[in-house]
């Protein structure tokens, strides 16, 4: 194994510990943790034996293992980006709820309408 492989394996081990820590603290759901750990395992296998990526690339008809990994990374980044987008939309809707609630409460406090007493 070359030095780069040792570094990448260290990164994978630290990432695994981090994900386990987040899961134990209930900051991520089981499915998310499982999915990320599966990706780390896949990453470890490729780092330990890079020829596997060539084998997979041939199987998918991509050609080179490096190209296959790049396409996979793009898909993964797209997925992460979409997840973040959904989270932003969710936050946006929560802001709407706050704005709506505040507008009504402001009216109630200003006008002291009998129906709210």
């Amino acid at each position: 194994m070359v030095l780069m492989q040792y570094i990448l394996i260290l990164v994978a081990v630290l990432s695994t510990l981090w994900i386990v820590y987040l899961f134990k603290k209930n900051k991520i759901q089981f499915l998310t943790a499982f999915f990320i750990l599966f990706l780390i395992l896949f990453f470890l296998v490729i780092v330990y034996n890079p020829d596997i990526s060539n084998y997979l690339a041939n199987w998918f008809g991509v050609g080179r293992g490096a190209d296959f990994l790049m396409y996979l990374s793009i898909l993964f980044l797209f997925f992460i980006n979409f997840k973040l987008y959904l989270r932003v939309v969710k936050l946006d809707k929560q802001i709407s709820k706050i704005v709506s609630y505040y507008a009504i409460e402001e009216f109630k406090s200003q006008y002291k309408n009998d129906k709210f007493q």
């Binding site: 959904l86 946006d92 704005v99 709506s100 507008a103 009504i104 009216f107 309408n113 129906k115």
Partner: protein
């Protein structure tokens, strides 16, 4: 019960964004027709809409969104307050003067006389059946809305003659069932989906929409259709 006493149970919700030049006519017209329960939801207007209403219409309920959240949220805010204030009927009405007060009266009459109908939806495409009249609209707008109708029918599986019409009158007690989540333009289509999903009893009614260059400039554009479709799709994933 005469009309005036019925109108006391009607709450008209008007979302407003930069409507200082148009909203006064709408409010005057509503007040002149005995509709006294009016809720204006100012969606963080940048013009003088706020001062115009506060100074000239002290009896109108003025709600202020401190951040612009879109027409869907403004209608939600106003409808929720109307419901809390004990409304019997809630009307969604535009601030730009495109909609007709006469159509509110016709819709209320239908709801009063038909216990089984829960919501009246305005349509610019229905022809006169003695309860309204078909709207005259520019050809470009007609094509756009026709496209929206076809899309709604075959893609969203909601079959209404005018899915992007914002005029609706409904019984306040159905508000929890009618609840919509989209903040912006997609709320129109979402409300129709909710009506179908919750099997609410509706009736489409021809309404008279008056177009001017100013309102057409502010109204929906063809590119908005993509945004509406995207928002509806994303809403399903949340």
């Amino acid at each position: 019960m005469n009309n005036k006493s019925i109108y006391k149970a009607v709450y008209i919700v008007i979302p407003a964004y930069n409507e200082e030049t148009r909203i006064a006519n709408v409010l005057d017209n509503l007040l002149a027709n005995s509709f006294s329960n009016i809720i204006v939801v100012d969606d963080e207007s940048k013009d003088n809409t706020a001062s115009l209403i506060k100074n000239n219409y002290p009896n109108i309920i003025y709600l202020k969104h401190f951040i612009n959240r879109g027409q869907g949220t403004a209608l939600r805010t106003g409808s929720l307050l109307a419901w809390q204030l004990g409304a019997k009927y809630i009307v969604h009405f535009d601030a730009d003067g495109q909609m007709s007060v006469e159509d509110i009266k016709k819709a209320i009459e239908i709801l009063e006389n038909n216990e089984d109908i829960e919501i009246i939806l305005g349509s610019r495409f229905l022809t006169n059946d003695n309860i309204g009249q078909k709207s005259e609209m520019p050809i470009k707008r007609r094509i756009l809305l026709w496209g929206a109708s076809i899309f709604s029918k075959y893609i969203l599986n909601i079959d209404y003659s005018d899915p992007q019409n914002g005029f609706r009158v409904f019984r306040a007690n159905i508000l929890p069932k009618l609840w919509w989540n989209n903040d912006r333009m997609a709320h129109c289509s979402e409300i129709l989906q909710v009506i179908k999903k919750n099997k609410l009893k509706y009736k489409e009614m021809p309404v008279n929409i008056i177009y001017t260059d100013e309102t057409l400039e502010k109204g929906q554009k063809a590119k908005d259709a993509f945004k509406i479709v995207w928002d509806l799709f994303i809403n399903k994933l949340l």
